[in-house]
């Protein structure tokens, strides 16, 4: 008997196919696979209350992640559907339609605002019997009648004030096809007072259109906006991925023991792997179902939610098929992949679990390579994200993802290094640090979700703060001087005066500064051939009104002022040439292409004085010829516009609505603005709100997973805890050790998150060519939120800890 004594080749390695002996299940048939997967599923589904709890937690965790992913996947189609709907009902003409036919119709805007809610109104007047109808409307409303969106119908029913403004008889409702969301406030009203404008866009109040849905334009926000959107998605979805990965690893240690028991009765490595995969699959498939359920339930709820006037129909929030298929395939595959990865460093032997690499330090270099590669991907874009340049979305997203993943990759190494150096201290500290030294990996995994979320949020916050100026505009408006601005096209000065008087007489109005403005041109305009006409604004108003718009000292009826354009406004050359005392102007305004009509010449009085412009209450600077009505007969003006700067009584909160009601009666095409000192672009606001909502959701997810992991860890150590209590360890010491055990990795994670966040933030700022400016308060806030989540989790795990520490923990199973 002298067999070779050394050949243990491949003894403990997974059979990788090499070697002479065939494993009996090589080329494992479908049945073998099915059996092992089913066995895994049986483990996931079995195991009594505890096993179910774990599976349900996994499913809920994965489900929450899946729901978020589905939501994200539903955004692009939702945007597309909304865009399609918006385009389909567009009533703007694609070009000038000169002649009415039996299928054309006239349309005019009748938008208004009520209590900060924007209402879109379109007035329609068919030219003939075959006129098109807008989407969602079967029959054009007759004059004095309208069709309304259901939301507007409800609003009108509850608001008599608004009903006065939109008094048309309600004929019916606009169908879904014509609305972007259930909360949209929209109406189409029939009119018989519309007249088509001429080719010069004058002398009418409506556009002639041949139908609906001709124009397509998207509100392009520019590359900075795209950058924000990309980073936001990355920041919000990456923790979701981390969370899903964490969720499928719940109960990992228990599973390893279970698999060891199976190895004993003859399961080989591949079988245990398949069984583990089956377990992960079961949880993640259940998670998919839960996620789908959550998504569809949430979608129904979404129809009741309106964010800044934006709502959506559940049916429109359908995830893109490819994305949905991707999610359905990727989530279980990820679950299986994560399981396989977690098994990779673990040899499950029949007598238990052997963790490989114990004592072998983690190597740091490949961990550092990840964020560096991310940075390298972002580098070429430094200073290039501005204006209308195109953002390389994929490169940017990949770079950002790598930088964030790099943070989580470095985390275990940092935790190991730091924790390995901790020594001594009180009993609680010692228990915590020794435990962490044994399984620093689990600790790092526990906080990696928080780390990614905080790092991403810090970077985003920095970018937001820096680009704040891009999106929040100083309007220059001064709400203390006037609160409402009204523009109305008028036929003549008399009508303008009448309008202003009616506004001034409105309830809640203290004063209305009314003026008329129109455009004049050079006196020889009718002889100009090349179409380059001078553009010379004319403002006619009384002295108090002119004082709001120019620095006028002495003013009396009959005064005329010449206000030169401020820097960057108008055309200083033509202003110098034509706006001079004694020179003549043609009040038959500047034509667009060729001169029409007859010149109406008017001489600037020699008494005209020059005055500097003054910022008016709305924040605009005007220039041109400023005259009192006694000096210039407003009936000479072509296409005049009546303007009113309205001062409201602050004690009358509905004053704005009364003004709007008044102006609604003035005619078609009257605009009312409220004066604000700043304006914010709407999408930016939504982005910011989206970030906060997403961050809250992500943090909640992470908190939930942390809690589950903590409880699991406690359950695993039940006996140990009971023994510690039995020989007199203070409960408070154990509580502290639990806190330390969470707090140490979390503090490390947060420090790393701040570093990573600053790095990514700096890179993003460099991309948009903005100076590095750390947002310390944002960092503090995000870190505080992260720490609060962990503290909350620790607190929530105290009651079970107390329960576990009761002496019956000593009882053997």
């Amino acid at each position: 008997m002298s067999a070779p004594h050394e050949p243990f080749a491949g003894f403990d390695r997974a059979p990788s196919g090499a070697g002479p002996d065939r494993a009996p299940d090589s080329g494992a048939g479908v049945r073998t696979w099915a059996r092992d997967l089913a066995l895994g599923a049986r483990f996931a589904a079995g195991g009594g209350r505890e096993g179910w709890t774990r599976t349900v937690l996994t499913a809920v965790g994965v489900g929450l992640g899946v729901a978020l992913l589905l939501l994200a996947a539903a955004v692009p189609p939702m945007m597309t559907v909304r865009d399609h709907k918006r385009v389909a009902r567009d009533a703007m003409s694609s070009g000038y339609v000169a002649k009415p036919t039996d299928s054309t119709l006239l349309s005019a805007e009748a938008d208004t605002t009520y209590h900060d809610k924007d209402i879109t109104g379109i007035l329609l007047q068919p030219d003939g019997p075959n006129a098109a109808t807008p989407p969602g409307v079967t029959k054009l409303p007759a004059p004095g009648h309208m069709v309304v969106s259901p939301a507007l119908h409800r609003l009108l029913d509850g608001s008599p004030l608004l009903r006065q403004r939109i008094p048309y008889t309600i004929d019916g409702a606009i169908g879904r096809a014509g609305l972007m969301g259930p909360a949209e406030l929209y109406f189409y009203a029939g009119s018989d007072r519309l007249t088509a404008r001429d080719a010069e866009y004058r002398n009418g109040n409506a556009d002639r259109i041949t139908g609906f849905g001709h124009r397509s334009n998207s509100a392009v926000m520019g590359p900075t906006f795209d950058l924000l959107l990309v980073i936001m998605l990355v920041v919000l979805l990456l923790p979701v991925g981390v969370f899903i990965a964490t969720a499928v690893r719940l109960g990992g240690e228990r599973r390893d023991r279970r698999l060891a028991a199976l190895r004993l009765v003859g399961a080989d490595n591949r079988m245990t792997r398949r069984i583990a995969a089956g377990e992960a699959l079961f949880g993640s498939v259940l998670g998919l179902l839960v996620g789908g359920g959550l998504f569809f339930a949430g979608r129904q709820l979404a129809s009741h939610v309106t964010i800044r006037g934006i709502s959506a129909y559940p049916a429109d929030m359908t995830p893109a098929t490819t994305l949905a298929v991707l999610i359905v395939l990727a989530v279980p595959l990820t679950a299986v992949a994560v399981t396989m990865l977690s098994l990779r460093g673990t040899a499950i032997e029949p007598l238990g679990v052997v963790r490989q690499g114990v004592g072998r330090g983690r190597r740091v270099w490949w961990r550092l390579v990840i964020p560096v590669v991310g940075l390298v991907l972002l580098l070429p874009q430094f200073g290039h994200v501005h204006g209308d340049s195109n953002l390389n979305v994929y490169q940017t997203a990949t770079g950002a993802v790598l930088m964030l993943i790099g943070v989580t990759a470095v985390l275990p190494w940092v935790v190991e290094q730091v924790v390995g150096r901790l020594r001594g201290g009180p009993v609680a500290w010692q228990l915590a640090t020794r435990r962490l030294q044994l399984s620093s990996n689990a600790a790092a995994r526990m906080v990696s979700g928080v780390t990614v979320a905080v790092a991403g949020a810090i970077a985003l916050q920095m970018l937001f703060t820096a680009v704040d100026g891009d999106f929040v505009h100083e309007t220059g408006g001064d709400p203390s001087r006037a609160q409402v601005m009204v523009d109305a096209p008028v036929a003549n000065g008399a009508q303008a005066r009448d309008f202003n008087q009616r506004i001034a007489a409105t309830r809640g109005v203290r004063q209305a500064y009314g003026y008329v403005n129109a455009d004049a041109t050079q006196p020889d305009a009718d002889r100009v051939r090349d179409g380059d006409f001078a553009y010379l604004p004319v403002v006619v108003g009384d002295c108090p009104t002119l004082r709001q718009m120019a620095q006028v000292s002495a003013c009396s009826p009959g005064s005329v002022f010449i206000v030169p354009p401020a820097d960057g406004m108008g055309d200083p050359g033509s202003a110098r040439s034509y706006l001079r005392p004694g020179s003549r102007l043609d009040l038959n305004g500047p034509p667009q292409s060729a001169y029409v009509g007859t010149p109406r010449l008017w001489t600037i009085p020699r008494t005209a004085r020059t005055a500097a412009p003054r910022t008016d209450p709305t924040g605009s600077l005007s220039w041109g010829l400023f005259a009192t009505p006694q000096a210039l007969d407003t009936s000479l003006l072509s296409s005049p516009t009546a303007n009113s700067m309205v001062v409201l009584d602050p004690r009358q909160p509905e004053a704005v609505e009364y003004v709007r009601n008044t102006t609604a009666k003035l005619g078609i095409g009257v605009d009312v603005f409220t004066v604000h000192s700043t304006t914010q672009q709407n999408s930016y606001t939504q982005l910011r709100r989206g970030l906060f909502a997403g961050a809250a959701l992500t943090m909640a997810l992470i908190g939930a997973s942390l809690l589950v992991m903590m409880l699991e860890q406690l359950r695993d150590r039940k006996k140990l805890l009971a023994v510690l209590v039995a020989f007199g360890t203070r409960r408070s010491a154990l509580a502290w050790s639990v806190l330390w055990q969470t707090a140490i990795p979390v503090v490390l994670g947060l420090v790393l998150a701040c570093a990573g966040g600053l790095g990514l933030g700096a890179a993003l700022l460099a991309m948009t060519s903005r100076p590095f400016h750390p947002d310390w308060s944002g960092m503090a806030a995000m870190s505080a939120i992260g720490a609060a989540v962990v503290l909350g989790v620790t607190l929530l795990s105290m009651p079970p800890l107390w329960r576990l520490m009761r002496a019956d923990g000593l009882r053997t199973e």
């Binding site: 067999a3 403990d12 002996d21 059996r35 199976l262 003859g266 490595n269």
Partner: protein, 227 residues
């Protein structure tokens, strides 16, 4: 004795780090016999059993099962051997807590490719035989230690193994339950013709064997060879 040895270990050595757990162990197991491996704690009894069963890799020495070299087998082959030819009863921890007792017993059959219904029918018969049919639907955590061990014995026997490896199978049981488990185990093994390698430090448990070998300081003396 004329029977061919079923399992033969010659000069098996195994160290954990610097500690030598086995320092030249010999053992022969013939078909159908019950061999007790005795010795004080830490003498290397369990290590010998683990080596014999192909669970642990020996450092040197020869291990033959029915003429095949156990040490040259791949993990897959050894796993397959554990499924088809070996059964295990340990002191504790070998039952899968998630599965019911019946399912636990059925597992080796299912791993070997048998259909669930057939596997569970056989398992039920074995539970009956070991007088634990009443706990078939319960989980290991819900049954007593003695019942759990009998379930484990049923599982060890269900696939019709040639060798059952039992490592302190009564270690966690009181005398009465221990005796009962030993009686059932040896009777069943006798009836099915399976050999039993029984590691124990208790003489009363070893008394259920046909012969014993003693492991002392990692060396074993097979009394059959000595005498």
């Amino acid at each position: 004795m004329t029977t061919e040895p079923l399992l033969q270990a010659t000069d098996v050595r195994k160290s954990y780090g610097r500690t030598a757990a086995l320092d030249g162990a010999d053992l022969t197991v013939r078909a159908g016999e019950v061999v007790a491996v005795m010795g004080p704690s830490g003498s290397g009894k369990s290590t010998l059993l683990h080596c014999l069963a192909g669970i642990v890799r020996a450092d040197s020495g020869e291990l033959r099962y029915r003429g095949q070299d156990l040490t040259a087998m791949s993990d897959g082959r050894r796993s397959a051997l554990r499924r088809s030819d070996f059964g295990f009863v340990f002191q504790f921890g070998q039952l899968v807590p998630e599965l019911t007792c019946l399912e636990n017993v059925a597992i080796p059959l299912r791993l070997a490719g048998e259909r669930r219904r057939a596997a569970e029918a056989k398992a039920a018969a074995w539970l009956e035989r070991l007088e634990v049919a009443d706990v078939a639907g319960q989980r290991p955590g819900e049954v007593s230690g003695g019942q759990g061990q009998r379930v484990a014995v049923a599982r060890a026997l269900v696939a019709g193994p040639r060798v059952i490896f039992a490592d302190e199978p009564t270690g966690a049981l009181d005398s009465l339950n221990g005796e009962r488990v030993m009686r059932l185990l040896t009777d069943a093994a006798h009836d099915t013709g399976a050999a039993v390698v029984l590691v124990t430090h208790e003489a009363r448990v070893a008394a259920y064997s046909d012969r014993e070998i003693v492991v002392r300081d990692g060396k074993s003396r097979d009394t059959e060879r000595v005498s």
